[in-house]
């Protein structure tokens, strides 16, 4: 029997893996992909509770999360292209102009 617990566990696992990617990878493209993973984990959580409470409100919120994820990916990749053009590198720790 699959309960809400199972879905929440999958969601927590996806969130942890995504956070690990954001914290450890050097390649900015992969960091943006990890952010997508985190947003997907949130969506799994919302859908699980939507089913649990038998309401579609959670699904509406998941649509908003997807809209924000699309906006974030578009702007992030635009920034990445500008960064690559100026520095010729996509490694996150080489962009340290504001670091002391």
């Amino acid at each position: 029997m699959i309960t809400i617990n199972h879905y929440l566990a999958v969601s927590a696992t996806l969130l942890l893996i995504g956070t690990l990617g954001v914290l450890t990878r050097r390649n900015i493209v992969v960091i943006l992909m990890s952010i997508e993973l985190i947003l997907n984990a949130v969506n799994v959580n919302l859908i699980a509770f939507s089913k649990y409470h038998n309401q579609v409100t959670g699904q509406v919120f998941a649509i908003f999360v997807i809209a924000v994820a699309v906006a974030e990916a578009a702007v992030g990749l635009g920034v990445l292209i500008a960064l690559f053009r100026n520095k010729g590198s996509v490694q996150a720790d080489e962009v340290d102009l504001l670091k002391w």
Binding site: L14, T24, I63, A73
Partner: protein, 169 residues
Amino acid sequence: MGDSVFFYAFAALAILGALGTVLFRSAVHCSLALMTSLLGVAGLYLMQGAEFLFAVQIVLYIGGIMVLFLFVIMLVNLDQAAKLKQFNGQTPLAVLAILGTGAAFYAFLAKGVATLPAPASATVMTGGNTENVADLLFTSYLLPFEVASVLLLVAVVGSVLMAGKGGTR
């Protein structure tokens, strides 16, 4: 019975894909693994009766965002980046933090779910899933919907500005 088989299959797809995204060396392989993970998540949506989101996930995420990612990977030519070191200096600390957070998450899941309020008595939903979502989206959540469209407009303008000639200065 068939339910749990499909659940574990989709969950394994989602989690193994996520691990591949974080661990693979080449960015193209990472994006293919991310696609696998998104497919698994789409399957989980379908199992929860969210058919509209299942379609949105396939069309928009796998068809849209991932093509955008692959396009950018092609533009910035990551061949030499794949030969560099992939993980930064704070990796051990990050792994420790993730393990600690994960322990807290799973401890909460083990204890906390039992304290959830019981689900509301089955309000019978007439019509299909898409119909119900649209009903709610265009009545109660009309203002957030319009705000989201403004956000998307701003994102379009911003990404054109960033990726276009103005980003060179």
